[in-house]
Symmetry: C2
Subunit: 232 residues, 2 copies
């Protein structure tokens, strides 16, 4: 048996999603719901609070509780870790390191990550799904934020996968764009020059500190970002 507060919550949520309760409609007062379901006010409150936090309802003192206007501005999708995604669909994953250097920040991009003269790790590599190159990656790691990274062998291990497990991130910014493969990218991904590529640029923070910056270029004909989202 589900807890009472969850039954009430599910009940109200269902009424909203089905359209029985429309945006702007007032939901019964807490004391009315108490009588209706035969529970205490704390239980009603525990049912309504998550609906408020999820943005489905709005609660105003003295006035009551109302169904919110639907949020127009977003849907949500997952961007999985490449390694995880490849193994999840039953293919074997392999990372191949192409280049690896450690030096002091001296470009704008590097200074933005690690500050002027900060120590950074720059590496490029390829992600393979079975025998096929799926993505080219160029990654910068702020070694002041993640000093352990200097001791890890990335010739086989994906740096992104390692970082996700070791460094707890608090903020991520993704940019997804499309570009046409130039010569070097085409060679790496074994596609024709002029083919379409899907590009993910990702910047990661831990609290205030920048952790890593990565550009991942996917073969547009072989890769799609697939995302499902269930409301509620």
């Amino acid at each position: 048996m589900k807890p009472l507060h969850q039954q009430i919550r599910d009940d109200i949520e269902q009424q909203i999603r089905s359209g029985a309760l429309k945006p702007g409609d007032r939901i019964p007062f807490e004391h009315e719901l108490m009588a209706q379901y035969g529970v205490s006010r704390m239980t009603v409150n525990k049912a309504l609070t998550p609906l408020d936090e999820a943005g489905l309802i709005e609660r105003r003192k003295r006035a009551g509780t109302f169904v919110r206007l639907p949020r127009l501005d977003s849907t949500v999708l997952d961007i999985p870790d490449i390694q995880h995604e490849i193994t999840a669909r039953g293919e074997t994953y392999r990372f191949e390191l192409l280049s690896y250097t450690i030096h002091k920040a001296n470009s704008d991009e590097e200074r933005e990550l690690a500050g002027d003269g900060g120590k950074i790790l720059v590496l490029t590599g390829l992600h393979f799904a079975s025998a096929k190159p799926l993505a080219f990656e160029r990654r910068l790691v702020n070694l002041d934020a993640v000093p352990e990274a200097e001791t890890i062998d990335f010739t086989r291990q994906s740096p992104g996968h390692w970082l996700l497990g070791v460094v707890p991130w608090t903020h991520v910014e993704n940019q997804i764009s499309a570009m046409v493969a130039e010569a070097q990218t085409a060679r790496h991904l074994r596609i024709d020059k002029g083919g379409a590529c899907l590009v993910v640029d990702r910047r990661t923070w831990r609290e205030k500190a920048r952790v890593t910056t990565v550009k991942q270029i996917f073969d547009g004909s072989a890769y799609r970002l697939i995302a499902r989202f269930d409301h509620g």
Copy 2:
């Protein structure tokens, strides 16, 4: 002043994110936290419950409460409504209808949406940011699920924006990919043939019923999906 339960919650969350509490570590028992913060058990519980739901901690009867292993598999991003996004960055939005037909489903794609012989609305159009065409859209709407759509004038209004406000969706599936513009797309978006485009394919459900299918093709040089995500 923040509520007590939130202070406690923030405090514990901070300890986890900073690394002071590591995965597997036991968090003090509720009765210990009661003494530590000088609050009742309900308040402690109200602080811990959201951390549990967010997946940061795991609670086991008799054993106690523990810091969870970090989830490796996903990060989350928003895909905004085009119209909302354009107006949000201060440009004027315009939708231009290119074609509009209503007929019975007769292709595989149409049958998948509305069933065999179901009534569907098919339209194509362009989204403009100020004077520039930003995206080409081809949309199928299941008129059995959204009969009102037949009465709406889409010559100026974006069908996606209208649908979002009118039809509460429960499930969305997005596919993001990259392609090279062929002749017609290039002409519509006023870009060179062979330029890169970002493509979003979206399918929307309301409960079990399919609502709409849309393919949006963006000028890859002018558009990026930008997504930020804050942990917790």
